[in-house]
Assembly symmetry: C2
Homo-oligomer: 469 residues x 2
């Protein structure tokens, strides 16, 4: 029972595996009484993981063993396919019990993932009050503060004293998502301040809330973007943030656990955009190939067609390039180096913009910094390449076409290409941010297609001058 006793040889993951094995054994022995008791003691996340593991056939039956409260929490921890399975195995009244026990934001999250017929059945079984709240939430724009907030918060009045406040917290606190941050509202529900349970605990029981509360509240508006909400959470180290409507009335709170999900989502979205994909709604493991195809084909198509410019350049200089054998062989390397250099700069700038580390107004400083980095990178690569072409290509591999002049042409081109790629790579995202576009779309694939064409032109003109062709 007391799993912390023998810690010398264990970490948390090993302990979990051992427990899982024991549960599995109880299930195989059909010892349902013990199984139920053990599951009730466990963390809901671990129960959900165990139930997902035992397979679709046994899962609904074992899920029914859980008490109503535990069942609701375990249910909220399931992935959508398991939630759907459970919903389909339940009677309407069982379902109603679960929905009423869930936090509103969890219920809304679930609804957004379910097929229309399931949503209909869920809404039918919920009480009119719950249905009204869920409906309201479903109408806030996706990715807005309104769509991730919950209405389960503790509200106090400024004329209450500490003792009365504790009495209220004890009375209504059981089902609230957090009781540690309490929100002070006026008679017309306008947000007036915030007070923490810590303040209350450290204060005299007769102190009035008005004296204790902090009027300096960091708040969000219902339609505010969730990314801006999560930025405020990490700036101000918050645990919960009130959400107010246009009239300043408190309509809900966002808690830190939801914000962690937002942070993960937003980082994933940036990463996907940077690799030339449309952001996906669901995790990769639950996205069907056709859906993945739809997210990937637009950029692939656009980039393939844009490469027409590079083809046209190559076609029109084909005869010139044919005059000097060996020139063509280095085109892929030059384009690759340009693309990689540009992608590095773009990635660094996009991430810094999204973390608020830099602003478009810093553009000049960033260009000056990238210019110096580009010069250093370009010169290093150029020198190494010059040595490599003479030593490896000319001397060791005996490629007679690689002369000193060809090596010089390629190496000099590298300097210009890296300089160009790094400037474009840093400027495009800043420009996008400035005109209100998402800088992440100015990322690697777009920049490499652009640098491909320009790298080729640089190479051709350097060759014209150095090789007199």
């Amino acid at each position: 029972m007391d799993e912390l006793e023998n810690l010398e040889t264990m970490d948390y993951e090993t302990l979990q595996e051992k427990k899982n094995d024991e549960l599995m054994a109880l299930l195989d022995e059909k010892n349902m009484k013990q199984l139920k008791q053990r599951m009730e003691e466990m963390n809901e996340f671990d129960v959900a993981a165990f139930l997902t593991e035992i397979g679709d056939k046994r899962m609904p039956m074992v899920f029914r063993l859980l008490s109503k409260e535990t069942a609701a929490e375990v249910f909220a921890n399931f992935e959508p396919p398991e939630q759907e399975l459970i919903i389909n195995s339940m009677t309407d009244s069982e379902l109603a019990g679960i929905i009423e026990e869930m936090y509103v934001d969890d219920a809304v999250d679930m609804m957004e993932e379910m097929p229309a017929n399931v949503v209909k059945r869920l809404m039918r079984t919920a009480t009119p009050e719950t249905r009204a709240i869920i409906n309201q939430y479903l109408h806030y724009p996706e990715y807005s503060a309104g769509s991730i907030m919950t209405s389960e918060y503790v509200d106090l009045k400024k004329y209450m004293n500490v003792k009365e406040s504790f009495a209220r917290i004890r009375r209504i606190g059981e089902d609230k998502e957090t009781i540690y941050i309490c929100f002070v509202t006026s008679a017309d529900r306008k947000l007036e301040g915030v007070v923490t349970v810590k303040d209350l605990l450290l204060a005299d029981p007769d102190t009035v809330i008005e004296e204790l509360m902090d009027r300096n509240v960091v708040f969000a508006s219902t339609t505010e973007d969730q990314e801006s909400v999560s930025d405020k959470f990490s700036d101000y180290d918050l645990m919960a943030m009130p959400v107010v409507d246009k009239e300043g009335r408190l309509v809900g709170i966002v808690t830190v656990d939801d914000v962690m999900d937002v942070m993960e989502q937003e980082a994933t979205e940036d990463i996907e955009k940077m690799a030339g994909m449309l952001p996906s709604d669901a995790p990769y493991s639950r996205t069907k190939p056709l859906e993945i195809y739809k997210n990937r084909i637009p950029w692939l198509m656009f980039l393939m067609l844009s490469a027409t410019f590079t083809s046209m350049i190559l076609t029109s200089f084909e005869d010139m390039l044919a005059v000097v054998p060996g020139l063509v062989a280095f085109i892929p390397m030059l384009m690759g180096t340009g693309g990689n250099s540009g992608a590095q700069s773009a990635t660094a700038v996009i991430r810094s913009l999204s973390l608020g580390d830099i602003e478009p107004s810093n553009a000049l400083g960033i260009i000056w910094k990238e210019w110096r980095v580009a010069l250093l990178c370009g010169l290093t690569l150029s020198l190494v390449n010059f040595g490599k072409m003479l030593l490896l290509d000319h001397w060791i591999l005996g490629n007679a076409a690689v002369t000193v002049w060809i090596a010089a042409t390629v190496s000099l081109s590298i300097v210009f290409i890296v300089m160009f790629a790094k400037l474009v790579g840093s400027l495009l995202p800043i420009g996008a941010e400035k005109i209100g576009l998402d800088p992440a779309v100015m990322a690697n694939p777009l920049i490499s297609t652009l640098t491909d064409a320009v790298s080729l032109l640089i190479y051709i003109y350097v060759a014209k001058i150095l090789l007199h062709i």
Copy 2:
């Protein structure tokens, strides 16, 4: 004063700007008394932002206006350059006051960023107890649970009752980073359970902690990677997590605000690695060009040199390619399409691995999924390209070299190249994870260099067969 009153036309950011202007006016009028009062009422993050804005010359003077407690919190919210400026403007005893007021984890974070001489001075001015704790923290491996934990937590004993627990929380709670999660320890400091203030508030005052506490504690070990800590926070929706040493003794706690920083750091690190950069220690805005150069040049160099294979392939087939004019012009497009397709798959798989959405054991399922996506993408691109080459290149641009057979060669190559790129793009990260490497390094640049060479070979062999050369 009551800034929530006129909310109709305002959001939080507008309010902040207005306040900032007012502070600036007070500073210009040298109305220090009012300025001090206003700053004491504000959130520490906003005070730090204001002080950073007023410039290095006036900042230390205005900072001195703050009370000791506010000063410590504002100090923790500064970036390292501002922290250094403040430290250099302070006497030893002022400095000691600030360090003693700071949370240990904030102090350690700061020490890690300061130059050696500043650290020496800080350590000299701290009390022996604080110095001992900070020293201990500085010795935990970077990015470990030990390095991000704090020792300011509330500990209870299981024989205490609720009333006694509240008395203890009131007595020692003032300086703790969280009082809402209390940790139950045995006489030899082993972690026995956890109890929340919510449990305490909702329980009868005479209940003994042993009956209330949850023995099912999600914990971390001091040397555990911070990424694994942050994964547990989002899985279990935690606010604080205990950290135990090898003997199971409680040595500190990690709080959710530190975990949000970790999540941001880890996402940035993944993004940097995926773009072929070494992860940076500091934000872009504070990294010097030479440092950026050092992070970027290794991969650029490696990838440039790897492109030698592509050059060798091109050189050895130069004569063959020269026989059919027009073939060379489509090489960059084919390589680009291969690189972009591979990067998409690699990015999706790397991100899913890092979020725990997929495991290396799902490899077969992932390959099957990517295979179908690749077939769909390959066929679509191939068809569109065939049409485009005949319509645009041959007919509109009048490029006689682009025959139906050349269009067929390029289009058929696209199918094979996309299939190959997507399989490699998904397999390499999974393989890396399987053998214990970081999948993020198997990202876009490496994969495009690999697909460049293979794309070229595919193109050449398809041309050999279709064009009989």
